[in-house]
């Protein structure tokens, strides 16, 4: 379990993290969301034992990060932002270096090294120096380093930043695979990532927690929650359809995009308008290309909370 109580970090004039309290339990994948400079990295750095909090406390698996730092660090695998590594080392000696600092030895060391090398597909670059690797490989070496000891807690600062879509998918699959039984905290500003891997999201803005919920519940806070989006074959009778939909009971407003020939009907809070809308479309003989119910838009919630 990770527990923070009023964790704060102040620099001369700036409060980077302001009395942040939360708990994370095994099996949870927590996403830290927030605009750049919101305090995500600072919070993670405090948990990982890199910088000391100005006030407040935090403990990792029962070890206080300030009084029992080494034990806390031992239970954490940490990927710093940008995955900094020792560029002049080759991949194998770098991983062996970390394994030694992590206190792995003998058969266990060999089996863990083999595991991370196989799992992150590093065998083809083992003898290559890290500075010659592509960004994707470097990120994988950084991830391999964090997994070496099979720690109960993983803290990954923007693990997919700068990766191509395939590599992002790989990293997300890996996180999902490891999730059972572990505590995983990732920071990101990619909202689709939160939906893909996180069981819970904390939104941080200006150093404070402004929302703490499951991604589904967060999305439900959106005006688009239970909205109905429909796309017509052509934009010719779009305006007439919009007026008809707007006249339906329980429809709050209708948004129209002529370029896409799309209408989005927003319901009154708590109302379900899909049946009424599909009935209307059938009555008027509208040629629909698409009709679907929206679960909510996380990016819109994100903007409305953090802006």
């Amino acid at each position: 379990m990770i527990k923070t109580e009023r964790l704060s970090k102040r620099y001369d004039t700036l409060t980077a993290v302001d009395a942040v309290s939360f708990e994370v339990h095994a099996g949870e994948v927590l996403g830290f969301l927030g605009p750049n400079g919101a305090g995500k990295t600072t919070t993670m750095r405090m948990l990982a034992g890199f910088i000391a909090p100005t006030s407040g406390t935090a403990s990792v698996c029962g070890h206080d990060i300030q009084t029992d730092t080494l034990a806390a660090k031992r239970s954490i695998g940490y990927l710093p932002e940008g995955a900094p590594l020792y560029g002049e080392m080759n991949v194998r000696s770098f991983l062996e270096f970390v394994a030694e600092l992590r206190g792995l030895s003998g058969a266990q060391r060999t089996s863990r090294l083999d595991f991370v090398i196989a799992r992150l597909q590093l065998s083809s670059v083992l003898e290559q120096s890290i500075e010659t690797l592509s960004k994707g490989f470097r990120r994988r070496v950084g991830l391999a380093q964090s997994l070496l000891q099979d720690p109960p807690v993983l803290i990954l600062d923007e693990p997919t930043d700068g990766l191509d879509p395939n590599q992002k998918h790989e990293v997300r699959t890996l996180i999902n695979e490891m999730a059972p039984g572990k505590i995983i905290i990732i920071s990101t500003h990619l909202l689709e990532e939160v939906e893909a891997v996180c069981t819970r999201a904390i939104i941080i803005a200006r150093g404070r927690i402004v929302a703490d919920d499951t991604p589904q519940h967060l999305a439900a806070r959106s005006r688009y929650h239970n909205a109905v989006s429909l796309q017509l074959e052509s934009a010719t009778d779009l305006a007439a359809a919009r007026d008809a939909i707007a006249a339906l009971p329980n429809v709050e407003s209708v948004e129209m995009s002529e370029r896409e020939a799309r209408l989005t009907a927003l319901p009154h809070a708590g109302a379900h308008i899909l049946p009424a809308l599909s009935e209307l479309a059938a009555q008027r003989g509208l040629h629909l290309k698409e009709l679907h119910l929206e679960s909510g838009r996380l990016d819109e919630v994100f903007r409305s909370i953090t802006a």
């Binding site: 034992g49 890199f50 660090k73 710093p80 940008g82 020792y86 002049e88 270096f97 030694e100 380093q145």
Partner: protein, 244 residues
């Protein structure tokens, strides 16, 4: 100690995986020998000792040691790898000591490679080998002192060139602490005991007394405390500035 040695070995390997190690050793050997023969008049003096060799070490170290030490922490901070290192289950002290001793062992290796001059002087005459050993010990301690200063300067900045220049300046001040150039700054206003204290900080006086063949406990203590002080300052500087 396990972690200190793991970090130490990584550092030493990294010296040799770049041209740095070879360039440093080559330049050190070329300069050390040319100073001895051309400026020191090794042959002309007609004495079987290595005084002309050791006399130039402080000046050689003044530029070479800060060049060796400048990357110790500045590079880690620049690339961000310091975050990776210090979030491993190690203490800051283990990292400071591991890096310092790696650099010191490397300097010792460069110094050891000057052995042909020891063979030469033994071939040409019968020198006091005890005094030569003392000279090597003094030179190694001097390198350690310079490295500790360099490590601290490197911890203060992300920029290696700045670390180098700061290192040279501070080493120069310590080298000449017993000389009018530095002392005159203090004589005008500071009381005599303080001026004396500053004069006693001079690298040169402590080094020369060891290099003459007299290993005095006070000189050893001086270097030990100086190194400890600057390593402590390194740790404090890192603790304050590592995340910047």
């Amino acid at each position: 100690m396990h972690n200190v040695s793991v970090i130490l070995r990584r550092e030493l390997r990294s010296y040799f995986s770049t041209p740095l190690a070879y360039v440093f050793i080559l330049i050190f050997l070329v300069l050390a020998n040319s100073f001895t023969f051309y400026l020191g008049g090794f042959f002309e003096r007609g004495q079987a000792d290595l005084a002309p060799f050791f006399n130039f070490h402080p000046w050689l170290y003044l530029f070479l040691i800060p060049a060796l030490a400048m990357r110790l922490w500045a590079e880690e901070r620049k690339t961000g790898s310091i975050e990776l290192l210090l979030t491993q289950p190690i203490t800051l002290w283990e990292a400071v000591l591991g890096k310092f001793f790696a650099a010191w062992i490397f300097a010792a290796l460069a110094l050891a490679l000057t052995f042909p001059i020891w063979i030469t002087v033994n071939y040409l005459g019968s020198p006091d080998n005890g005094a030569i050993l003392a000279g090597y010990v003094g030179s190694l301690l001097l390198a350690g002192g310079f490295l500790a200063i360099g490590s601290c300067m490197s911890a203060l900045t992300r920029n290696q060139v700045v670390a180098f220049i700061l290192g040279v300046v501070v080493c120069f001040l310590f080298l000449l602490a017993g000389f009018p150039l530095v002392l005159d700054v203090f004589r005008g206003w500071a009381p005599q005991p303080i001026v004396d204290a500053i004069a006693s900080l001079s690298f040169l006086t402590h080094f020369e007394s060891i290099a003459k063949g007299v290993i005095d406990v006070r000189d050893l203590l001086y270097f030990a405390m100086l190194i400890a002080f600057f390593l402590l300052a390194t740790a404090i500087a890192l603790d304050v500035r590592k995340a910047e």
